[in-house]
């Protein structure tokens, strides 16, 4: 029965998704989204309406009609999509761990060699790509020499996406940054921790050529880089294994270079022991970390823009958990009363 119901919905849902995608595609190219900006007043009215409807759901729950999961999906969608058009601003407070990372970067001299490792795929790009873009902007403005690599196959491609975006900005176009001189992408190498281990001896052993197949020694930026001892700082963006933990355990502990990291929100909690012990200089946690990094570097971008959606969706989830608990308490009370009656 369940499978039958699923099959009945599959085609209409597919048509709806394709139609919506086409509409968004046309709207984006026709720049319709520019007209969809909601003023601060209208945004507040909409937020009050959403809040009112959540109170109504709470009242219905108290009456014994709890909301179904589709209602939760709808509210999460509204909480994520609606704020994208709102012209509301929020004050972003910078946490100590982001501040620490920034101070670590600030202490580097002009022309410092920075190893940027991209260990994530497009699935985590929403959280990590804004960090990557901000990092590149900061690095290029400070004149750092950026060496990119990845322990995930998709990592170097993600780095290229961020690079393309940053380098297309007028501010960086005029700098005439040169590939192989100011930055280089060494690409992906399989082998997880063993790649880090081997790089401790010689980078070239793991990356005889760069991402485009250019021999290692013909690239001026890395010609004199033998191993980690020639690197001033390492910045890791990671979404899992292999990632920050492996870089700390195999790289930082064994070869002693300085490292800061940007992680997905779920991964960040596990990195705090390394932060507190000083093995990590600083950490950017999830999209809020990206927004804080943008705030402290003054390069406001996607992280800052999406924080309103994140704020809104967190509140919605918290409210639904409260509603769920209200329903649970009512159910438990009802059961206890029934038991008493039976007794």
């Amino acid at each position: 029965m369940e499978h039958g119901a699923k099959s009945r919905y599959e085609i209409p849902v597919l048509i709806a998704v394709v139609t919506l995608t086409l509409v968004i595609y046309v709207a984006r190219h026709a720049e319709w989204f520019g007209y969809l900006q909601l003023s601060a007043g209208l945004s507040l009215i909409l937020m009050l309406l959403v809040a009112g409807s959540l109170i109504w759901i709470l009242i219905r729950t108290l009456d014994g009609n709890p909301a179904g999961r589709r209602m939760v999906f709808l509210y999460v969608a509204v909480a994520v999509v609606l704020p994208l058009s709102m012209q509301l601003t929020q004050k972003i407070e910078v946490t100590p761990e982001v501040n620490q990372l920034y101070r670590g970067l600030q202490a580097l001299p002009h022309g410092a060699k920075v190893l940027a490792t991209f260990d994530y795929d497009p699935g985590s790009a929403a959280e990590l790509q804004p960090m990557a873009e901000t990092f590149f902007k900061y690095a290029f403005d400070r004149g750092f020499k950026v060496i990119i690599m990845g322990l995930w196959p998709q990592g170097p491609a993600q780095a290229n996406m961020a690079l393309t975006k940053v380098l297309s900005e007028e501010r960086y176009k005029v700098k005439s940054l040169r590939y192989g001189v100011d930055y280089v992408n060494l690409g992906f190498q399989s082998g997880n921790e063993f790649v880090i281990q081997r790089m401790g001896g010689e980078f070239k052993s793991m990356f005889p050529t760069d991402y485009n197949g250019t021999p290692y020694d013909s690239l001026p930026i890395i010609r004199n880089v033998k191993n980690f001892s020639n690197i001033d700082y390492s910045f890791n963006l990671s979404a899992g294994y292999p990632g920050t933990k492996e870089w700390v355990l195999v790289g930082v502990d064994q070869f002693g270079f300085k490292m800061g990291a940007g992680n997905t929100a779920v991964q960040t909690t596990g990195m705090y022991p390394y932060l507190r012990s000083g093995q990590l200089i600083g950490i950017l946690g999830g999209m809020s970390g990206a927004a804080e990094f943008e705030e402290i570097t003054k390069y406001r971008g996607k992280g800052t823009k999406f924080m309103l959606s994140q704020s809104f969706s967190h509140v919605v989830v918290v409210v639904f958990i409260i509603i769920g608990n209200v329903a649970y308490i009512m159910f438990e009370r009802g059961r206890a009363t029934e038991k008493k009656k039976k007794a």
Partner: protein, 215 residues
């Protein structure tokens, strides 16, 4: 013989890596590099093995017309498309503006992001249905979750702006992350590390043989 050789390789590689950590000089560093290179080669082959296995399983699914075989067709078509486009562009496949790059940016990347984005809906739904204050510990977890969820976003400070400094949601969330969370994570890390040490020793000494398969 079929079991002895893998056991010997495991034992020697394990001992070499342990010794190399404490004595990173000749000959141990040379052996360590040698094993690391082999690991990279084996890992690269494993990627191919995984891809071919996916191809084989999808073909079997289509042949047997098992449930969801249509998705297997899409898997194979996409797999072949990426492979053919990638190979047809030779060494330049990864450069910006190539067909492979276009497929990565406009097909793979949005699809992968969409799959991850769906998680937000399931997490919200699961939290609504399962995150209950059933007992003291669960209530404590629930309160901590509320504080972190609201404290990690700017709206947290807006909601707790009336509180005295040090008691605002962002500061409470930072405190939870830096102290109770770190303490808990450390305990977990120490436990995991001890487990890894013991199971590694069992592997190196040949006591643990389940990875060889069979009995």
């Amino acid at each position: 013989m079929r079991r002895d050789i893998p056991l010997l390789i495991t034992g020697i590689a394990g001992v070499v890596f342990i010794v190399q950590y404490f004595i990173p000089h000749f000959p141990f560093n040379r052996f360590s590099n040698w094993f690391s290179d082999w690991f990279s080669i084996v890992a690269a082959c494993a990627i191919w093995l995984g891809a071919l296995n996916l191809f084989k399983l999808s073909l079997e699914k289509i042949h047997a017309r098992r449930e969801g075989w249509g998705y297997a067709v899409i898997t194979i078509v996409c797999f072949l498309l990426m492979t053919v486009v990638g190979f047809s562009e030779g060494r330049d496949y990864s450069k910006v503006g190539t067909g492979f790059d276009w497929l990565y940016n406009y097909v793979y990347s949005p699809l992968s992001s969409t799959m991850f984005a769906i998680l937000a809906f399931f997490v919200a739904s699961a939290s609504y249905r399962a995150f209950r204050a059933r007992n003291f510990e669960a209530t404590l977890l629930l309160i901590a979750a509320f504080l972190v969820m609201l404290g990690r976003v700017p709206i947290g400070d807006l909601l707790s702006g009336f509180m005295p400094p040090g008691m605002r949601l962002s500061q409470l969330a930072t405190w939870i992350m830096q102290f109770p969370n770190t303490a808990g994570q450390r305990a977990i890390l120490i436990g995991i590390s001890l487990g890894i040490v013991s199971s590694s020793l069992r592997l190196i000494l040949g006591i643990e043989r389940s990875y060889l398969g069979g009995d």
